[in-house]
């Protein structure tokens, strides 16, 4: 209904309640975001070069590769988080809904609302659990019932049952794994289309890691997920597509190979990939 209204007035759909129903406009498997000849620089140093990738809607894409190969840099280029680094700069295009996100006219704030991020170390705000989830929606002008949104987001993040009785306690009172799920709940409370995850389990113990991995599988129904991982088992187990990056002699990262996870891990096209996944290097 809200969708129709937004269309009929020719307005942009920003009503956050829209996505609580399954999204339909883009068919699963179609492209949610793509890069074209994208390079990312820090000052004069080119950290990632000539990336041409397509990320599929409501699927999980894993970025793997040796440390320092630019996985995180690539990820942060996708929602312009690298804008926060003064010397950072991107060349080429990153397209989201057909628009180059590095276009002058694009508002990075609007972009980040639709392309959320979960970080390597859990970083809840030093506020209550409730406020952690509600804040993003509030500043984005959420007009619905906040309690419902908070509950819904926490349920989606598989955290509701553990925190429903202590919503007014500090986010820091939770364990590391719970904090990370709180950060995921916080990210989905603003109803993004894509969630970028930067090694979200690297600071967690194996049990907490498992829960997050299961959660990611569940989230894929509603969200496109792009995840950086240094753990090949994680990529093989949990993703639909895998991108393997490596470092060139000039220390710039580049994409060696991309494809469905099954193919990449069983029949890699490049020797480099095979060497990496069989542990012969890195």
């Amino acid at each position: 209904m809200a969708t129709n209204e937004a269309r009929s007035t020719g307005m942009v759909m920003t009503d956050l309640t829209v996505h609580t129903e399954p999204r339909t406009p883009v068919a699963p498997g179609s492209v949610a975001m793509e890069t074209e000849n994208m390079s990312s620089f820090y000052g004069k140093f080119r950290a990632v070069k000539d990336v041409n990738l397509q990320f599929h809607d409501r699927q999980i894409t894993a970025l793997i590769g040796p440390s320092g190969c630019g996985k995180s840099t690539l990820l942060r280029a996708l929602n312009r988080m690298n804008d926060l680094v003064p010397s950072a700069r991107v060349e080429g295009e990153v397209r989201f809904h057909g628009q180059n996100i590095y276009d002058e006219a694009v508002d990075p704030v609007e972009l980040r609302r639709r392309v959320g991020m979960v970080f390597q170390k859990p970083n809840p705000f030093p506020k209550t659990i409730y406020q952690n989830v509600a804040w993003g929606a509030k500043i984005n002008g959420f007009a619905g019932v906040m309690d419902e949104l908070v509950e819904h987001s926490l349920r989606q993040a598989a955290l509701w049952d553990e925190v429903k009785d202590k919503l007014n306690e500090s986010g820091y009172s939770l364990s590391g794994g719970q904090q990370q799920r709180l950060c995921i709940a916080r990210a989905i409370a603003v109803k993004p289309e894509i969630i970028l995850m930067d090694e979200p389990t690297s600071a967690l113990d194996p049990v907490a890691t498992l829960r997050i991995e299961e959660l990611i599988q569940e989230l894929k129904v509603s969200y496109t997920i792009i995840i950086v991982t240094h753990n090949m088992q994680q990529a093989a187990r949990a993703s639909d597509h895998t991108v393997f990056l490596n470092m060139d002699r000039d220390r710039a990262g580049y994409v060696v190979e991309a494809g469905t996870t099954g193919t990449l891990f069983t029949k890699p096209a490049k020797v480099e990939t095979e060497d990496y996944i069989t542990g012969r290097f890195g």
């Binding site: 942009v12 989201f96 809904h97 694009v106 508002d107 704030v109 609007e110 639709r114």
Partner: protein, 312 residues
């Protein structure tokens, strides 16, 4: 589905950013104000018939009543108090810093740091009181009432030194702390004692930081006002080379003398009309003071930058 990422107009953000920028830029305005006002009044002063830049920079007499405007008597008193202050503050401050940084146990440090902070937090007018009611009588009882005048630059200088000790020690300690542990370990590794490590390895390594502390302290001593206004003297110490004895009078710290800052305070504390030569003259002194302290601070910053470069 069409999704627009087009830039939203956010006038609030721009207004806030604008306010924040203006707040930051206000500091530039302050500096411009200082330079402009001091410069303008000083220029008016040098333009008058009674005064000239040449006289200002060369004469050893400052007697506004007979239109003598030579800055040297004031500079001389400022130098005397500052040198006295440095004689007290440098050794005590540096030794304190070395002790706290290299020798003191955490408990002693925890006890001494607040004491130094209290010393640094006492208003200068209180130090002025201290100079007049304690230091001066002390000096007079040691060196004799006939030798030490009631107002004298020595007493003021020593007390300025005391009030600068915390500045010297905290900046020097920072410099000593910045010296990496590995350097100390290397020194111990070749069998050096703690003393040798502190004085021959750590101290030279922290030298530029310590120099910065010294230079800032000199600047602080030159700009210090209340102690000298209260205890150093209430009139310029005019002198003539050849006539006045060099050690008995000109360089004698036990004689009263008025510093640049002390003179500004005394003149502006009275009734001062805006277009008088007195009003203009204190701005000329103020300009000299500003330029000297600014140069010292810039030099000090250079030294700090140098030791940061090496160790950070």
């Amino acid at each position: 589905m069409t999704v627009s990422l087009r830039k939203k107009r956010r006038p609030g953000e721009a207004v806030i950013r604008g306010f924040l920028f203006i707040a930051a830029a206000l500091s530039i305005l302050t500096t411009v104000g200082i330079v402009f006002e001091l410069g303008k009044e000083a220029l008016l002063f040098f333009r008058t018939e009674e005064a000239s830049m040449a006289e200002f920079l060369s004469s050893t007499h400052w007697q506004p009543a007979i239109l003598d405007f030579g800055i040297w008597p004031l500079v001389l008193a400022t130098l005397t108090t500052s040198v006295m202050a440095m004689i007290v503050a440098l050794p005590v401050g540096l030794a304190t810093a070395i002790f706290l940084s290299e020798y003191a146990t955490p408990r002693v440090r925890g006890l001494m740091k607040p004491i130094l902070e209290v010393l640094a937090g006492i208003p200068t007018v209180v130090y002025g009181y201290f100079a007049l009611t304690f230091m001066t009588p002390l000096l007079r009882s040691i060196f004799g009432v006939s030798l030490v005048e009631i107002f004298n630059t020595a007493s003021a200088g020593i007390v300025v030194g005391i009030l600068i000790i915390p500045l010297v020690s905290s900046m020097s300690e920072d410099a000593l702390h910045a010296v990496p542990l590995s350097l100390r370990e290397a020194s111990y590794g070749v069998g050096a004692t703690k003393l040798e490590t502190s004085l021959r390895v750590v101290l030279p390594a922290a030298l530029s930081g310590i120099t910065a502390a010294f230079v800032v302290s000199i600047s602080r001593a030159i700009g210090e006002t209340m102690v000298v206004a209260i205890a150093a003297g209430a009139g310029p110490k005019n002198f003539t080379f050849g006539e006045d004895s060099l050690f008995g009078y000109i360089l004698n710290p036990f004689v009263a003398g008025e510093t640049m800052t002390g003179h500004i305070v005394r003149i502006s504390g009275g009734d001062l009309s805006y277009n008088s030569i007195d009003y203009n003259s204190i701005f000329a002194i103020g300009l000299a003071l500003f330029v000297i302290t600014l140069l010292l601070n810039v030099v000090s910053r250079r030294f700090v930058a140098r030791f940061r470069e090496v160790y950070e």
